[in-house]
Symmetry: D2
Subunit: 365 residues, 4 copies
């Protein structure tokens, strides 16, 4: 089934495996006239590039993006935009120990169950490397959003037990753990050293905030903005939970505390608080959108693990190679990208919501 | 934009408002030959019907379903199945106080922002009553699932601070709070009495378990089974968080504890634990699927609330009428229904995943 | 599979059978604020209503439409619009001779092959009666189009050997054969009398013209406007051919004759001729859109026909009942409706084609 | 809007322009386990490759396909399959005369109207070169079809006034005009010489026949097999008409002549004639599918043509460069490819049409 596409009128289709020739994304529905260069996309790709800190895999990839179609004289043409990233560091190493053995926490078993066999080299299509294509696509989405003043910002909210306050969003770009607080980042780094010494791994929480989004975005019933965002974020491997606004905390709250009242602000109306996380009835209100994603610990650990061979024989697996002790920092830009992609599609879909705006659109163009 | 449809090859499209003539669902992609009667659907509808306990609105609705098309001589024909439920208790009451005032926690403000005006009678399309159509559709989905031994069961996991252990799934059908433990249900009832006395409301958590699902269901990348379920559950009004398996708890876990190993079971292979909640890499493994939804407190409370008129003037709103002090018990069957609908679509989509099965299918038919 | 829906952001989903309780359409993606009454829809439905001439079935149906949702205080709300038409004249006649026998030219055999059984009463879902729901939906689409000055007009171009010149579009509403020339209509009527006397039936050609469509509508590659229209028209039962502009005649033309040059018209640019039928590269140019559909002769004829029983035994079938000697006149409004539905969807999809218009849309709203 | 994708569960997404780095297709929903090599795809691509006869452009392109993802150890993996063809012969010629002038019969004007500007080099995205990606995708579709015995064969039925009888399907691979009759091919070649001497171009008709398709493929109402094929074929640039079976001839036929009766054939039932072209009620019967496409004359001709500058000023355009005098022969494999792609998708969608088959599928796997 066709699972490699996301979106309705702004649609991203991705391809590529961990150890094939490369990865890519085809973006369809990009409006014509957007100034776009490879450098604009590269900036976002560099945020998830491997080999940049001791908490990320040592795999050497420049992750250089190439625009193969859809841009002419520096602007998008309105037709499908093809982006490619060639793989460079495809170790010709021995996969014998994972070829016929199911790694716990990975998709080896389920791919074999679904497809009858699998590309066992580095996870194939189920590799986290797949997300590079999403980030390239997300970079284009963010350019579109910026043109109308929408800002999407994701950062690490916690790693293991270390929670970061949101002190300074700029700081999240400075430390390798992407935390918006330098002190918390240092604590998290220390915590990770311990985990690595234990040959174990850690999980965490990523938060994403959207400001400047017009009100009225999202649709009733099944295409609620939170439903679309929920799908987008859950489609990232390793995500096991998603919250909007107060999230799970609402379950023990009360109506009088959870309800956001309204107040005038200039000629506009805005919520007086933001427990809802910027979405009411599936549609954006004037408050920032806030979502969080729970990321599981890296499944690749350097301890012996009990599992089975393909034929069902119990065995013990010991992994070697290059693995991140924590997925969170490199997933931050992936969460941001999927959020941006979802918002662009939702903004486009909203353009035909009202007769008066439809009539004005065609009468003035 | 077309937000009233869900699913790709098993597709549910709903219509109807709280105070219009009725509600309905059109199910397209129902296979031919499923035995189906109105009674089968009615059983599920009765689980969310109002007026059944003191914790649910007193609105009088028999919620009787009518099959308008798609069934002939007791079996589905393969063509679109139309289900309708006529509204009976449309109070001709006075909406003056909500017509021009934005109720906190409701979609009044966002609908006005999106559409320029709204059907203010009882929430219109954004009313929880919309979910009746989902439950009717879900009942059909559950009949399809049962034919291959898949069982979907949702229940209340917590209301406010009262968490229920999963003692007895049958018990969840006996008490009005749908908790799988009689003692917890009694505690939760007592807790709700207090909240009601305070003219306030409560939230909670719904859990849903799926057993018997074949392995290999769900697709890589954007159509992961957890992504599809995430969208389905987040599309239910009042849901502010969704978890699969250990959910948010994974963020403070470690790889060695979170990874599920594998073991042989007869001639099959199964996970030796179930932290993942039955889904690995977006595809079902052999363990039960477990998901949880955080439900916010009923926004309609009987305390004065600060809000604004449509024109921005601050005002105080005092609601009257019939409102559930907690949404959770009536949303249980909605969570179950959306899960079932998602699974049927995913099972159908999986049928063309492998050449050998495709060839066998057409050679034997 | 879900085949009862059409369109991407303006989506029509239909249900209902010839002899069930009724038929209907759910329209999703109707913009908010469109003035809409049942009368507006009824006008179009009355154009295909049976029992109005001696060339149409005598079935007695008032085909009265009911709006079940999506309209409040005379205007569309932006949420799904449900329309229903209840069947009235469901003859409780004997279907014994068609229940187990395959009528030539009908879908009896193919439905049985696909689904294993079928609703044999009057064709069930494959009945031409299904198109009533399309016409109801098309009436809404035409209201949307009129708001920006787009006019869709279909009429009969030929019945059997009788071709009608396009003398007067208004005349097509006056004669029962929907021909835009009174003299041709009289000839066609005389021709039909002969066919009926022979217990046989006739086919014909329907033409549809669209004026006032903005340029730039339709998308490159697979969503060309002609491709979308082609699907729309071929989805009408009995259509065996579709042409745009000069259609099949282009195959024996030459470039110098077939090419439409361009010329200035005021400050605009327009094609100097219209061999292309208003679409170039899949996108509307400034000329009227012209399409034609070839309609097969009514398959229900009153002559004995050689066919088989369900079990394969050869047999001779003699039909009784009420059948149109020609489908064309009643299909005219169906072609018009499907064209209108396609155009509305395409107009909505075009709204995000350009960055400058996207930015203007969100900056001014 | 996202117009570069085709199909629901077998989905083809294409990218690339005439004079960019290359073109490609991403195929999603290819079942796992299909043996696939670049050579298999190349065979089909070579059928539309330029520079092979004096009736095709002299552009030098090897059109070598590269598999970038989705194949492992010679078999498809079930995940997205990426195919690329790099452009080689991008003449750095002068586009000054077409940059600001609208070529008659081309999409220059409509692209400018839609997008505000265009890639004017060789037609950009609207170039016929776009179809190379479709052919690569179609080659994969044909491999899937062959596995269950479905054969798709397209050939030239006419060029200008020269109609070819269907004498020998193999012959269509031998002559450069793809006609299934050597004598007709020679006549057509002579005819084309005259047209070329007149600096003019010719159109024609392509026919496509499908044998071995199971009965029951296609869906009622909007997803009829003929509707899906109609869209597929109309999405090919230069197609101005599509017919199924007797096509436009039905308009002057009569029911007694047009109806296909049924007869037993062994234990099966088959139509006794094939006026319908293998599709009844939108669903395949047991007869071969027959469709025809009308192809317009190549718009690029070497005569002066009256047109306008971008600013509206009238001008005369004289084209230079490399152009096919007739599009038909190179479009033959494109028609075949689009037919194959449509059939694979329809076959997959049919797998969930019946409960008994659904149950059997999951009980035996």
């Amino acid at each position: 089934m066709a699972g490699s596409s996301f979106g309705t009128v702004f649609r991203v289709t991705t391809w590529g495996e961990s150890h094939g020739p490369g990865l890519g994304a085809v973006l369809d529905g990009v409006p014509a006239g957007l100034p776009l260069t490879e450098e604009m996309i590269q900036r976002q790709l560099d945020r998830r590039r491997p080999g940049q800190s001791r908490y990320a895999t040592k795999r050497k990839e420049s992750d250089q993006v190439h625009i193969l179609s859809g841009v002419f004289e520096g602007r998008t043409t309105g037709t499908s935009l093809s982006l490619a990233i060639w793989n460079e560091d495809q170790h010709s190493r021995d996969y014998a120990n994972v070829q016929d053995t199911y790694r716990p926490g990975h998709a080896d078993f389920t791919y074999d169950q679904k497809y009858g066999f699998r590309d066992y080299r580095g996870g194939g299509r189920s590799s986290g490397r797949e997300t590079a294509a999403r980030v390239a696509a997300g970079a284009v989405a963010e350019e579109i959003l910026k043109s109308i003043g929408v800002q999407v910002t994701a950062y690490t909210r916690s790693i293991g037990p270390v929670e970061s306050p949101v002190t300074d969003l700029a700081e999240a770009q400075n430390n390798p753990l992407c935390m918006p607080d330098a002190k918390a980042a240092a604590e998290a780094a220390a915590f990770l050293e311990t985990r690595m010494a234990e040959r174990d791994s850690a999980g965490g929480v990523i938060e994403c905030v959207v400001t400047g989004l017009p009100t009225g975005i999202g649709d009733p019933v099944f295409e609620k903005l939170d439903a679309r965002l929920g799908k987008a974020i859950f489609s990232i491997g390793a995500v096991k939970g998603v919250e909007i606004g107060d999230g799970f905390a609402v379950s023990s709250s009360r109506g009088s505390a959870d309800n956001d009242g309204f107040r005038p602000e200039g000629s506009a109306i805005v919520p007086s608080s933001n427990h809802a996380g910027g979405i009411l009835g599936g549609i954006s209100d004037a408050a920032p959108i806030i979502l969080r994603a729970a990321i599981k610990p890296t499944p690749s650990i350097f301890q012996p693990q009990a599992t089975v061979h393909r034929d069902g024989t119990p065995t013990e697996l010991v992994l070697r190679g290059r693995h991140d002790p924590v997925i969170v920092p490199r997933a931050v830009v992936v969460v941001e990208s999927m959020t941006a992609i979802t918002l662009v599609d939702s903004l486009f879909l909203n353009m035909s919501a009202r007769m008066d705006r439809f009539e004005a659109f065609y009468h003035q163009n």
